[in-house]
Amino acid sequence: MISWSDFPYFALPALAFWAVGAAFSARDNVRHPRTSGAALLFTLCGIVVYGAFIAAFWHTLGRPPLRTMGETRLWYSLFMMLSGAVVYRCWHYRWILGVSLIVAAVFILVNILRPEIHDQSLMPALQSLWFVPHVTVYIFSYSIFGCAALMGVAGLCKRSGSYLPSADPLVRIGLLFLTLGMLSGCVWAKQAWGSFWNWDPKETWAAATWCAALLYIHLRLRHADRWRWPYIWLIITFALLQMCWYGVNLLPSAAASMHAYN
C-alpha cells in the first residue's frame, strides 16, 4: 500500500536520475553523440521511477490521483519531464532537460514541504481529465517563451540579429504548446461550462498572448533581416504570458472571472 509518506522515496531518486540526464544533455554535441542517448536514458529511468509511484498510488486510492492539489502536482512534474524528453529527442536543445527539471523539482518540493495540500480538494469544475494536460502544456510553453524572451533581451543589448535563428524554433515549439493548451482549454470549457470560449478575463489575456506569438512569426516572415521589432515582440509576448498566468488575478475584472478558484 503506497501513501503520501512514501512519496520522497520515489521522488528524490527520480530527481537524481533527471539531474544526471540534464547534466548529460548539457554536454550534448557532435563530438559526444553518446551523451544524448545517456541523457534520454537517465530521464526515462526517472520517469519510470516517478510513474511507478503514481501507478501504485492510483491502485491504492482506487481512483485516478487527480482530485486534490497535491495529486495534480504529481502529474505536472511527470508531464514536464516527458515533454522535455520529447523536445530534446526531436531538437537536441541542450538546456531543455535542465529547464524541465527545475520546473518539475519545484512541484515535487511543494508536495514534500507542504503536506497539508495533499488533502485540499479541487472544486468540481477542476475535476477533469483535461486539467493536467491543459495546465502542464501551458506551463511548459511559459518556460519556453521565458527562454525566447531572454534571447530577445540579449539580442537588443547586443544590437544584433544573431539570436533570432535560435529564437525562431523556440517560438515554434512554445506556440505549439500554447496552442495545445488553449485548444484543450476550449474543449474542457465546452464540457464544463457549455461554451468553447467565453471571453473571460483569463481567456482575453490568453487570446492576446497567442496573437502576440503569432505576430512574431508573421513579423519574421515579413522582414527576415530586421531584428528590433521581433525581439520587442518576444518580450511583449512573455509579459502578456505573465499577465495571463497570474497578473490577471490582480486586476479588478478578476473578481468576476470563471477562472477564479478561491
Binding site: D168, L215, L219, S253
Partner: protein, 275 residues
C-alpha cells in the same frame, strides 16, 4: 435565435461573401491591392490590433463598462460583442479567406499542408465563434423529482419548450470530511424516450448532436428538509461540429508546423547559420 442573422441568413451571407472573395482572388489575384490584402504585413496589423484591443478589454474594470458609459459608447463595454471588435473579426476572416483560397489555387498541397491546416482550422473556429453565435440557445431548466420539466428559461426571461420532459431520479452530494465543502455533485435524470443518465460537472449529457445538458447547480438546502432540486443548463449549438473541426485542424496544423525540419523564416534569414 430571434436575431436577423440567425440560420439561414448567416449561412447564405457567409457563403455569398466567400464566393465573392473567391472571384476576387481568381480574377484579380495578382493585382497589387489583392496581394497587399493577403500579405504578412496585413496579418501583422490585424494581429497587432487584436492584441491591443484584447489588452484594453482585459484591463477595463467591469464597473466602467455599464450601459450608457463612455467605454460602452467606444465599443469596450463587453468588447467581444462591440461593433469594432466584430469588424476586426470580419477583417481577420476576410484576410484568412483570401490567403486560404490563394494557397488552394496554387495546388501545392503537400508543401502547404501545415499552412492550410493551420489557417483553415483558425478560419473554421472563427466562423463558428462569430457567425455561429446567432444560432446558439442557452437556457436553464429547474428539475425536480416531483414534476416533469418540459420548458427552459432564457436569460432575457423568455420561456422555450424543451421538446422532451426531464425529471430527477436521484441526487448525490459528496462533501469533504475535513471542512464540509462540496467536492462533487451528481444528478441522475430521466429523459423521455432516452432513459436514465448521470450528469455532473464536467460530465454533460449529449441528448442530440447539437444539444447538451449540463448540471450547473442545486438547492443547497435540499438535504435538510426539501426535495432535491437540480439546475440544468440546456445548450443548443448547431455549429459545435464546425468548431470541433476547426480545433482539430488547428492542432494538426500546429503540430505539423512545429515539427517541420526547416521553416521559411530560417531559409530567408540572413542570420541563419546554414544559408
Amino acid at each position: 435565435m430571434s436575431s436577423f442573422f440567425s440560420f439561414p441568413v448567416n449561412l447564405f451571407l457567409g457563403f455569398g461573401i466567400l464566393v465573392l472573395l473567391w472571384v476576387v482572388e481568381s480574377e484579380w489575384g495578382q493585382h497589387r491591392i489583392v496581394r497587399r490584402l493577403r500579405s504578412a504585413a496585413v496579418a501583422c496589423w490585424l494581429l497587432g490590433i487584436t492584441v491591443v484591443w484584447s489588452i484594453i478589454g482585459g484591463l477595463v474594470p467591469p464597473q466602467w463598462a455599464v450601459d450608457g458609459s463612455l467605454w460602452q459608447a467606444l465599443g469596450f463595454g463587453f468588447f467581444p460583442s462591440s461593433w469594432g471588435f466584430r469588424l476586426l473579426i470580419g477583417c481577420l476572416l476576410a484576410h484568412l479567406s483570401l490567403v486560404i483560397i490563394h494557397r488552394f489555387r496554387l495546388r501545392q498541397y503537400r508543401r502547404d499542408a501545415s499552412f492550410l491546416l493551420l489557417h483553415t482550422g483558425l478560419w473554421l473556429a472563427l466562423v463558428a465563434g462569430s457567425v455561429g453565435t446567432f444560432d446558439r440557445v442557452e437556457g436553464r431548466a429547474v428539475v425536480t423529482s416531483e414534476a416533469e420539466c418540459t420548458t427552459m428559461f432564457l436569460r432575457d426571461g423568455r420561456i422555450l419548450p424543451l421538446g422532451y420532459g426531464i425529471h430527477l431520479d436521484a441526487f448525490d452530494v459528496e462533501r469533504s470530511p475535513a471542512d464540509g465543502s462540496v467536492v462533487q455533485y451528481t444528478a441522475t435524470i430521466v429523459v423521455d424516450s432516452v432513459g436514465k443518465h448521470d450528469i455532473s460537472v464536467n460530465n454533460p449529457f449529449g441528448i442530440r448532436w447539437y444539444e447538451d445538458l449540463y448540471l450547473t447547480g442545486f438547492d443547497h438546502r435540499h438535504d435538510v428538509e426539501r426535495q432535491p432540486v437540480a439546475i440544468i443548463m440546456v445548450v443548443r449549438e448547431p455549429w459545435k461540429p464546425v468548431t470541433m473541426a476547426g480545433i482539430l485542424l488547428l492542432a494538426a496544423g500546429m503540430l505539423s508546423y512545429a515539427f517541420r525540419r526547416s521553416s521559411r523564416i530560417s531559409r530567408q534569414s540572413p542570420h541563419h547559420p546554414h544559408p
